[in-house]
């Protein structure tokens, strides 16, 4: 089978300069691997925060003697709030049973009770996008308006702390992620520039015999793209190995760790390809302006 001239020329370059090509692919893959590792940490941190956020709920304690129908109607009203995912009624008996199971240290005290001291409650879970202090507060205020509600709680302090943690994580993630991406782009750009300089004579000859800039760019762009794809795939492989190794050494904790989804992996390889292409485009463009 006869390969298209552009692809043939790119493969020829790989064969002619195997060491330089391997170094280019290695530098691209290690740069992307660094980003990938950071991405994995960020992904797992986000996952942990997400799990913590699932615990954000508003609890409305119901006054004793409130008719079941009133609570039922109010539950439907609350369910209709745009922030609310689910409303669960916990009767006094259910609350006591749960306390006996969950509060082990008070098990004896709860066993000998003659009257149930625990009130019934409505446990209101919020939709994921509303699981923050401001929205929980708003929902709590609205629920407080129901006459049968004795008290409303949502763990203001820890929800606020969770909010702060999320904000810090977002800023730190963005800054460090950007820094890693910039470093990767610079390293890859320099690598591709070395390839371009190594072929300076060839480019000069091409120009002198009348090759168009598009023609000259072609093999370089394809070469950069191929290196980006290879570097991206290698980086994925290295991240996977690192993930497995880390998982293997962390026991129980390791089981809760997550890896990139196929879409995220595809995005990573696409990013590598894009960087390879962009680095080539910039390097060859700059070179063509000066020869």
């Amino acid at each position: 089978m006869r390969l298209p001239p552009l692809l043939r020329e790119s493969i020829r370059t790989f064969r002619r300069t195997p060491l330089l090509s391997a170094l280019s692919v290695a530098s691209i893959s290690f740069s992307l691997f660094t980003i990938g590792l950071f991405g994995l940490v960020a992904l797992n941190f986000r996952e942990t925060l997400h799990k913590l956020a699932e615990r954000v709920e508003v609890v409305a304690f119901v006054l004793r003697g409130t008719p079941t129908e009133t609570i039922s109607v109010a539950s439907q009203d609350i369910q209709a709030f745009p922030e609310v995912l689910e409303v669960r009624f916990v009767s006094e008996e259910q609350a006591l049973a749960r306390a006996r199971i969950e509060l082990v240290e008070f098990r004896e005290a709860y066993r000998d009770l003659e009257t149930n001291p625990l009130p019934a409650s409505l446990e209101i879970r919020l939709k994921p996008e509303f699981r923050n202090a401001a929205n929980a507060q708003q929902v709590a205020e609205r629920i407080r308006g129901f006459p049968f509600v004795d008290d409303v709680r949502f763990g203001r302090d820890w929800v606020q702390r969770l909010d702060r943690l999320r904000n810090i994580a977002a800023v730190v993630g963005l800054v460090i992620g950007l820094a890693f991406a910039i470093v990767a782009i610079v390293i890859i750009g320099v690598t591709i520039r070395i390839t371009v300089l190594q072929r300076a004579t060839e480019i000069t000859i091409m120009r002198l015999v009348g090759a168009t800039n598009q023609y000259i760019r072609g093999p370089f762009l394809l070469e950069g793209t191929l290196k980006g794809v290879l570097g991206g795939l290698l980086a994925v492989l290295m991240c996977w190995v690192a993930y497995l190794l880390f998982r293997g050494t962390t026991g129980e904790l390791g089981n809760s760790l997550v890896f990139f989804s196929p879409v995220q992996l595809l995005l990573g390889v696409t990013f590598g390809t894009g960087i390879g292409l962009l680095g080539s485009l910039l390097s060859i463009g700059r070179h063509l302006r000066h020869v």
Binding site: T201, V209, N213
Partner: protein, 229 residues
Amino acid sequence: MIRFHSVSKTYPNGVQGLRDVSFHIPKGQFVFLTGHSGAGKSSILSLIIAEHKPTFGEVRVSGFPVGKLTPNEVPRLRRKLGIVFQDFRLLEYRTVEENVAFALEVTGARREGMSSRVMRALTQVGLAGKAKGYPKELSGGEQQRVAFARALVNDPPILIADEPTGNLDERATRGIFQLLQQINAGGTVVVMATHNLAVVRDTGYRVIELKGGQIVYDSGQEPVAKDPE
């Protein structure tokens, strides 16, 4: 074929390469550009191959107005030129025939008939027997002949040679000069920059001598007529 009309060239660093230079090279002429280093020979060649644009005046090469060419038009002009340099500029990893074929490949020539065109150019420069060899296996004179074959393979009407014998011994120089004469005899315009006056002497070809960016002698001076192109 080549017309310079009141051309001046000042480089970005302030160096003045040419001052008010005018000449006309008609079809089929062989012209030597002579002068010491910095006299302006390379400036003239760089304007002919559209490596630079004139600061003032007009340069027309094979009908192309060099000063007004867009980057996309430059390759079209260069396909009308064969260019050879002192340092050969061959690709070490390609064989002789591949080096010559390179000029066809990168200008998008059809693959059919490519090898016969390459062999014809190599035969013209007397290197048909070394088509499969690599540049480093050849002498300096032979390497320069490969560069000529590459320049000629597209059948350009104009051949530009910048100090083509600068790196060669006397015997190789004579050989290259004879080759240039043959090329010119086929109707190709040859413009050769050299500071080797021994090559120029008694050839009977036109000599344009430059000094300080100006023409100080032109053996073929004629009134600047309107270019039929």
